[in-house]
């Protein structure tokens, strides 16, 4: 690079107002771009974190979620007797048959109804999910009309707080504890005794069977045997894959929608950068002619002008990313289209998203600066010097 970086940088500082405005426009686009990716990543990580690599989930064949799955008691018993299932300290198999029911609860503040996942669980369920712990109160007593609620549910829904009472399935359920399941989907659920839930909802079936593998490699044997068993129309997935699949459709949609929006927005920002750079080139015609006269090549001039535009793009990228990073302090909730249940998640910023956002900003700078830089590089020296 022959023309010094300070030339490009100081030109930006000299016309600082237009630089800031142009970079601001790009920053807004980068903000939307980064926020959308962070949203999709937040949803994905929340659901992926919900699963464990050592656990397997057995669902009815072709069911995409636990809500769509039905496993009868006799079939659940066959699944629970498989040799790949690990045992706990007491020698009991680490397997839990669970029931999922969606129920409408009203949100605090808005009083708007939203679907919440109610999960009928057995005592082994907690052992299968070490990331789930009791944050307040106590665990429900088996055989009682007591429930525990995830921390996001407790805070967001009327009657779901500790000591409050929820009414569903013709019964009143007392909330005796609040679960902290970190950034997992369990934080958006309500857990109660499986037998009580089956009776209350009159569903003498299970939605899924969750089990801990003795060794992660045992998954393939288990999957092959269960899926080939003519008595069992089931599918076996690693729990982590199951939850990732749950996020896929919605995360993909968020990403696609966001990318379409940002591409449209970015056209405006690129045009803005282009106008700024054309104006910058127009006011520096003599200067560019002088540089060429001194011996700087067309390539040197092109690089210097492109660098200026790239610096604006970088500035916009950093500003947008900085603003988007503040979004990590927010948690939002929405209905997951795959499970039809409300799930709460945070905007999640990853190094990959940060790099993509900066590259996006630089890309806008590159596109916005290319034509003006080309115009500058193609200027005739004599005509440029006469432009006073």
């Amino acid at each position: 690079m022959k023309i010094p970086l300070s030339y490009s940088y100081r030109n930006l500082v000299t016309r600082r107002l237009t630089t800031v405005l142009t970079a601001g426009g790009m920053g807004l686009v980068v903000f939307v771009f980064a926020a959308v990716l962070m949203l999709a990543e937040g949803l994905r990580q929340t659901l992926v974190a919900t699963g464990s690599y050592d656990n397997a989930v057995v669902l009815r064949a072709s069911a995409e979620s636990e809500v769509q799955s039905i496993i009868e008691r006799d079939k659940a018993a066959i699944i629970a007797s498989q040799p790949e299932i690990a045992l706990n300290k007491e020698g009991r198999p680490l397997v839990a048959q669970e029931l999922i029911v969606l129920f409408n609860l009203r949100k605090r503040g808005t009083n708007m109804p939203s679907n919440v996942t109610i999960r009928g669980v057995s005592p082994i369920s907690l052992e299968l999910r070490p990331e789930v712990r009791l944050a307040a109160g106590r665990m429900f007593r088996p055989g009682s009309t007591e429930v525990v609620t995830g921390k996001d549910t407790a805070g967001r829904f009327v009657g779901a707080g500790l000591g409050e009472t929820l009414r569903f399935a013709m019964r009143d359920w007392t909330v005796v504890g609040v679960l902290d399941a970190g950034n997992t989907a369990f934080s958006s659920e309500i857990w109660g005794d499986i037998d009580q839930m089956q009776q209350a909802f009159r569903r003498p079936i299970f939605s899924s069977v969750i089990l801990r593998l003795r060794a992660p490699g045992d998954f393939y044997n288990l999957k092959a045997r269960l899926e080939a068993d003519p008595r069992l129309p089931v599918q076996v997935k690693r729990e982590i894959v199951f939850y990732e699949d749950q996020s896929k459709r919605m995360a993909d949609f968020i990403r696609l929608l966001g990318l379409v929006l940002t591409v449209i927005f970015s056209l405006g920002a690129v045009l803005g950068a282009m106008i700024t750079m054309y104006a910058a080139v127009a006011t520096r015609t003599v200067e560019i002619g002088t540089l060429r006269a001194l011996g700087f090549s067309r390539g040197n001039v092109l690089t210097a002008i492109m660098l200026e535009s790239l610096l604006i793009g970088l500035l916009g990228g950093l500003a947008g990313l900085g603003a988007a990073s503040l979004m990590t302090f927010f948690t939002i909730s929405t209905t997951n289209w795959q499970t039809f249940a409300e799930v709460a998640f945070s905007f999640t910023l990853t190094p990959d998203i940060a790099a993509k956002s900066l590259l996006f900003g630089l890309g806008m700078g590159l596109l916005g600066g290319f034509l003006p830089a080309l115009q500058a590089a193609r200027m005739n020296i004599v005509e440029s010097l006469r432009a006073l």
């Binding site: 022959k2 300070s6 002088t290 060429r292 006269a293 001194l294």
Partner: protein, 233 residues
């Protein structure tokens, strides 16, 4: 007493023609110009507006290309050079002084003077030393960290002269170097150019309207309607 040796011819121009196209109209600016400039000469080119003196200077300085004719400088026919070769040639052989100084406003005086050296292979320290030396030579070293807007016209032109000599060029091409200066500043700049010619032996080709500036030159050539003098080949 030994006879004085004739300095070698640095610029050799023969039958040089240049025209510009304005729409469908072709305007002949220079017609069969012949001119030899010996090394170390201080040549002033005068003539009315539109006579082609700046065009001739631009051709000699390699920022424009002739239509036809010979244009040989220090043994190189620069009319045969490609655009990129010409850019390299300009950087190595020509120093420019413009009427309106043409300093880069966002660079300091020192950085402006250093600019041509960025095209050389010199390390940064050597570049700085050379630029500082050029500024000392033109007597404006104390303003090295000033931006052009912080300098007067005369001071800016001194910086421009320092930029023109910093890479030790063969020719200094000056286009109306005093055209934008008051009488005192113009006198100082001309004094400086005379010193460059007499003390450092620089070949200077200066376009001017100012007869007082032309008086400083060792030779004066008049151009009128693109014609300098008849060629006798």
């Amino acid at each position: 007493m030994a006879p004085e040796s004739t300095p070698p011819i640095l610029v050799e121009i023969n039958n040089l023609t240049k025209s510009y196209r304005r729409g469908v109209q072709i305007i002949k600016v220079l017609e069969n110009v012949c001119l030899n400039i010996p090394e170390g000469e201080f040549l002033a080119l005068m003539g009315p507006s539109g006579s082609g003196k700046t065009t001739l200077l631009n051709l000699i300085a390699g920022i424009d290309q002739p239509d036809s004719g010979l244009l040989r400088i220090a043994g190189v026919d620069i009319s045969l050079l490609s655009e990129s070769e010409l850019a390299v040639w300009r950087h190595r052989n020509v120093g420019f002084i413009f009427q309106f100084y043409n300093l880069v406003p966002v660079l300091t005086a020192l950085e402006n003077v250093e600019l041509p050296l960025l095209l050389s292979e010199l390390p940064r320290v050597r570049r700085r030393q050379q630029a500082e030396l050029a500024l000392k030579l033109v007597g404006i070293y104390d303003r090295k960290d000033h931006y052009p807007r912080q300098l007067s016209g005369g001071q800016q032109q001194r910086v421009a002269i320092a930029r023109a000599i910093v890479s030790d060029p063969v020719i200094i091409a000056a286009d109306e170097p005093t055209g934008d200066l008051d009488k005192v500043s113009a006198g100082e700049v001309l004094q400086l150019m005379t010193r460059l010619n007499q003390e450092l032996g620089k070949t200077i080709i200066m376009v001017t309207h100012d007869p007082r500036a032309a008086e400083r030159a060792s030779r004066l050539q008049h151009l009128d309607k693109g014609v300098l003098n008849a060629c006798t080949v």
